[in-house]
């Protein structure tokens, strides 16, 4: 048992323990999340120093057996998941004890989160298409559970939509994997270049990418996401928006650099869908009247930007753009989780999340609003955040290739994101006549610390971008 297997087994076992023994759910969850973070960091350090690793389960090598592969990209995603998980766990574990009606929600969170964590870790480590499909199924079910966690009528409805969309995506994925197997006779990831070379193989890749597009909520298949992410509990929204969406995006990136980028049409469709999501999400975020809805639409837009970058990646050898995409995924995960947790705290203090009602005379801006502002800076892509370095690299790669229309689109997306996020941040700077002299400040809660920590991490990551970028050098190709 090394880190690779432990990263998959530990969260899944902990999920069973937490489900079977609700009274110990919190302590189990916290320990498992901490342990997972330690394992992820150890693995990342080892890969950063020693290069990528592959492991054949049971000693059966591909194409006969199934294998796990841990490389720089996978390690980066594992660390990303672990960090976001830590932040969200701090928020959940540190929240004041809920009233009787909400105890169930609290204990149900941990098994669902741990199952999500295990599924995501397995997904990042999978080295074959069928494994990817299986991990998607586990992930999808856990994510539906997270969506429904708050138990409100809208949440249940959103969870049902999520389930339907997820199943449709899985079906496309499964069809694609089956067709790939029929074409090539194997499903390990090394088969991707072969698939890209044949007609049936390209259809298989097309089906897989279509499935991923549904799961990543790319335009025009995004219909389910804003409702799901905005009606869930804050901690669930943070996980769904920061991490679960990334699973599909990660697989798209993985398939692209493994050779899927050779299919010109697929890349173009992905880039156009990404651009569509970026503009559609931004437009709706500009018009949203509720904070959570704004943040959820911003996820559509940001994921669109990342998909655009992946669509413009011509392969692993075209180093800049796919590295930019990976860095943007990381920075979006940290910033978006921070943002949803901050929104959770703001909503808790205000009792609502209407943007027009954010100005309250008797309430001063608190730590959560500060965290929101820092996360917004990262999402817009202003220095010194990781979002800035990611966008810089992306533009650098695009200009290098003379892809000026795409440069213009990325800049347009940046302007729009600044516009919709400024709607909120400007209200965080209220003062003077808008605040009564005796106005109170919101009390400190664990959620504030978690949001501030994640937002600061996104900020600091900009200065330490060399770390993830070096790690990415150790990626299997």
């Amino acid at each position: 048992m090394n880190e690779t297997s432990l990263l998959v087994s530990l969260p899944l076992i902990a999920a069973l323990v937490a489900a079977a023994w609700p009274r110990a759910a919190t302590i189990t969850g916290v320990i498992a999340t901490l342990g997972n973070a330690g394992l992820a960091v150890v693995l990342a350090i080892r890969i950063g120093q020693g290069g990528a690793e592959a492991e054949a389960l049971g000693g059966w090598a591909a194409p006969l057996g199934i294998g796990f592969a841990a490389d720089g990209l996978a390690a980066l995603m594992l660390v990303m998941t672990a960090l976001v998980g830590l932040g969200v766990s701090v928020q959940v574990a540190g929240a004041p004890l809920p009233d009787a009606g909400r105890t169930g929600q609290r204990t149900a969170f941990w098994p669902l989160w741990l199952a999500t964590l295990g599924a995501m870790n397995a997904l990042f480590l999978s080295a074959d298409l069928f494994n990817l499909y299986v991990t998607f199924e586990i992930l999808g079910l856990a994510a539906v559970g997270l969506t429904a966690l708050s138990g409100t009528r809208t949440a249940l409805r959103a969870a049902f939509d999520y389930l339907s969309a997820g199943l449709a995506g899985s079906l496309l994925l499964l069809l694609g994997v089956a067709l790939a197997y029929a074409t090539a006779g194997r499903v390990d990831l090394a088969v991707v270049p072969e698939l890209a070379g044949s007609h049936e193989g390209r259809v298989a890749l097309g089906l897989i990418f279509a499935g991923l597009a549904v799961k990543a909520a790319l335009f025009p298949l995004h219909f389910w996401m804003p409702a799901a992410h905005s009606s869930a509990a804050p901690e669930a929204s943070a996980l769904l928006s920061a991490l679960v969406v990334k699973a599909a995006i990660y697989v798209a990136l993985r398939l692209s650099i493994e050779g899927g980028a050779a299919v010109e049409l697929l890349r173009l469709v992905l880039a156009v869908a990404g651009a569509g999501a970026m503009l559609w999400g931004a437009w709706h975020a500009l018009r949203a009247d509720r904070l959570k809805l704004l943040v959820a639409h911003s996820t559509v837009a940001q994921v669109g930007l990342i998909a655009l970058a992946i669509g413009l990646t011509t392969g692993a050898r075209d180093g800049t753009i796919w590295r930019a995409a990976a860095l943007l995924m990381l920075s979006h995960a940290l910033a978006k989780a921070a943002m949803f947790l901050a929104v959770g705290r703001i909503t808790e203090e205000l009792g609502h999340d209407r943007i027009s009602g954010l100005n309250r005379e008797e309430l001063r801006p608190g730590a959560a609003e500060f965290a929101f502002a820092i996360a917004a800076i990262s999402l817009i892509g202003l220095p010194p955040t990781a979002g800035f370095v990611g966008k810089w690299l992306l533009l650098d790669g695009l200009i290098d290739r003379g892809a000026w229309p795409w440069v213009a689109l990325v800049l347009l997306g940046t302007v729009l994101s600044a516009a919709y996020l400024a709607r909120v941040v400007s209200r965080c700077l209220r003062g003077g006549p808008h605040v009564a002299p005796g106005a109170r400040r919101p009390a400190w809660r664990a959620g504030d610390a978690a949001a501030l920590g994640l937002a600061t991490a996104a900020l600091a990551l900009g200065l330490a971008s060399a770390l993830p970028l070096t790690l990415l050098d150790a990626t299997l190709t």
Binding site: P383, V389, I399, V415, A418, S426, G432, A466
Partner: protein, 490 residues
């Protein structure tokens, strides 16, 4: 140890900012103590650095954050020019702001972002490459926004929105230009006489487009017409913020950016060879006249001063664009001279508003009798702006005019004469009202002005006189700019 000096200077203001932001609002003594200690330390460190740089020492340190992208700081003669300005004025403005905002709300937020602003300025001054410059330039935008909207009124938020639209738009142009240049040239460090090599010959179109993007990007903060719209609107901010915007940080960073781009990225010869020097000089000339003409008709004192800034900052751009060492001396010296003159005017204007509620030119009657100290400081600043010898502004204008002749552009003399006449036309009526008219009956009763408000404009007014009288001393702004220019035009 000394190689860490640039970092230490940066950390005096960057390190203190989060501490101040986190302090409860009521802890004003601790906050003031921290603030003044940091400002004092910075001043001492910058003095040490200047001494070392004058002796030929070089400082540099860098942190690579992506392949080919490094956050790098260095201290050269040009950095020291800007650092000296920002550290002296930070100390004075902090003292003034503590007095000005006494008893106000959200002071921790104010002083935290104030420090962050100065930290960004320090980063801009010491940026060793274009990437680092862009990082701090954008940080400056973010740090000033909360200050512009500090009062929290609808008007302040409107000004903040306009400020953001202009500066983030400029930032976008700057970033695009910078990324493009990195894509073409690999790395873009700041070195005297430019770093582009033979790129201007092989790809003149792209290099020209990048120049336009970069200058437009920094031109927003330098308030070049037609990118100046944010500056007069931002006048709703409190007086110390106006001082910061106009004298210490924002417009100066824009002007400094133009210097770096022309001198240390392109090199003056390349800019001239590309045929970009004359258009830039012409744009500066238009801005100088336009700002002055608009200033004539403003009754609001701060708005009049704001248009005056639009005009005066472009003297710096003009000096850079005229491709003549003599003009360059005038332009660079004006970076300092305009700073100390304009801050004197704003601080004095802030005192008029604080003590007597006087905010318009038409209410200035008899102010010389009511507040002789502040009015005297204001007068020194105004005379300096007009260019009355032996004040600082005269020195700048003299060198700019001589540089115009040197560059074979005698039109510059006409421009300077016209601008000086206009300066006189919008400043002298204020002085006339203040000194020669009687105070109105039933003037607003006086509110006491503490030493924290009275001292800073007096000191800066003294500096205006000193910078002019002692212009030939080796450590005067003029002496230092001669040293810089000798490096660029060797």
């Amino acid at each position: 140890m000394t190689e860490l000096l640039p970092l230490a200077i940066l950390m005096t203001s960057l390190g203190i900012a989060p501490v101040i932001l986190a302090l409860p609002d009521g802890w004003s003594r601790l906050r003031t103590a921290l603030n003044l200690t940091a400002a004092g330390m910075k001043l001492a460190l910058v003095a040490w650095l200047s001494w070392a740089v004058a002796g030929g020492a070089e400082f540099g340190l860098s942190l690579e954050i992506a392949p080919g992208l490094a956050l790098a700081l260095k201290a050269d003669a040009l950095s020291v020019l800007f650092l000296a300005l920002s550290s002296v004025l930070w100390l004075l403005t902090t003292i003034y702001a503590v007095g000005y905002l006494e008893g106000g709300t959200d002071r921790s937020r104010f002083f935290g972002f104030f420090s962050l602003c100065v930290a960004s300025t320090v980063g801009i001054a010491m940026a060793a490459n274009l990437f680092t410059f862009v990082v701090f330039f954008e940080l400056l935008t973010l740090a000033t926004w909360p200050l512009v909207v500090h009062r929290g009124s609808a008007e302040a938020h409107r000004a903040g929105r306009i400020y953001l639209v202009y500066t983030l738009g400029g930032g976008l142009a700057l970033t695009l230009g910078a990324v493009w240049l990195y894509a073409l040239a690999g790395e873009v460090p700041f070195l005297p006489r430019g770093v582009l090599g033979d790129l201007p010959q092989t790809d003149p179109l792209a290099v020209t487009a990048i120049f336009v993007l970069l200058i437009a990007g920094v031109g927003v903060k330098a308030a070049l017409v037609p990118l100046h719209g944010w500056l007069p609107v931002s006048m709703v901010a409190p007086a110390p913020v106006s001082a910061l915007l106009h004298a210490v940080a924002v417009v100066k960073s824009g002007a400094f950016g133009i210097m770096r781009i022309v001198y240390d990225v392109y090199g003056v010869e390349t800019v001239e060879a590309l045929g970009l020097a004359l258009p830039l000089a012409a744009l500066a000339g238009v801005t100088i006249l336009y700002g002055s003409i608009r200033a004539l008709r403003q009754d609001d004192l701060k708005t009049r001063l704001a248009y005056s800034t639009v005009s005066q900052v472009s003297y710096i751009t003009l000096g850079v664009a005229l491709v003549s060492p003599v003009a360059a001396v005038g332009g660079l010296a004006h970076l300092i001279h305009q700073g100390i003159m304009k801050i004197t005017l704003f601080l004095a204007a802030g005192n008029f508003a604080e003590a007597r509620g006087v905010k318009t030119v038409s209410a200035m009657d008899g102010m010389g009798r009511l507040m002789p100290g502040a009015t005297l400081a204001f007068t020194v600043g105004a005379f300096g702006m007009i260019g009355v010898p032996p004040l600082a502004g005269f020195v700048s204008k003299w060198y700019l005019g001589a540089g115009g002749l040197d560059a074979g552009q005698p039109a510059v003399i006409a421009l300077l004469a016209g601008s000086s006449l206009l300066n006189a036309a919008y400043f002298l009526p204020i002085l006339h009202r203040a000194w020669f008219r009687d105070p109105p009956e039933g003037a607003v009763p006086k509110r006491r002005i503490g030493w924290m408000l009275a001292l800073p404009p007096a000191v800066t007014a003294a500096l205006v006189v000193a910078a002019g009288l002692l212009a030939n001393a080796p450590f005067s702004p003029l002496g230092w700019t001669r040293f810089i220019v000798s490096l660029e035009y060797l």
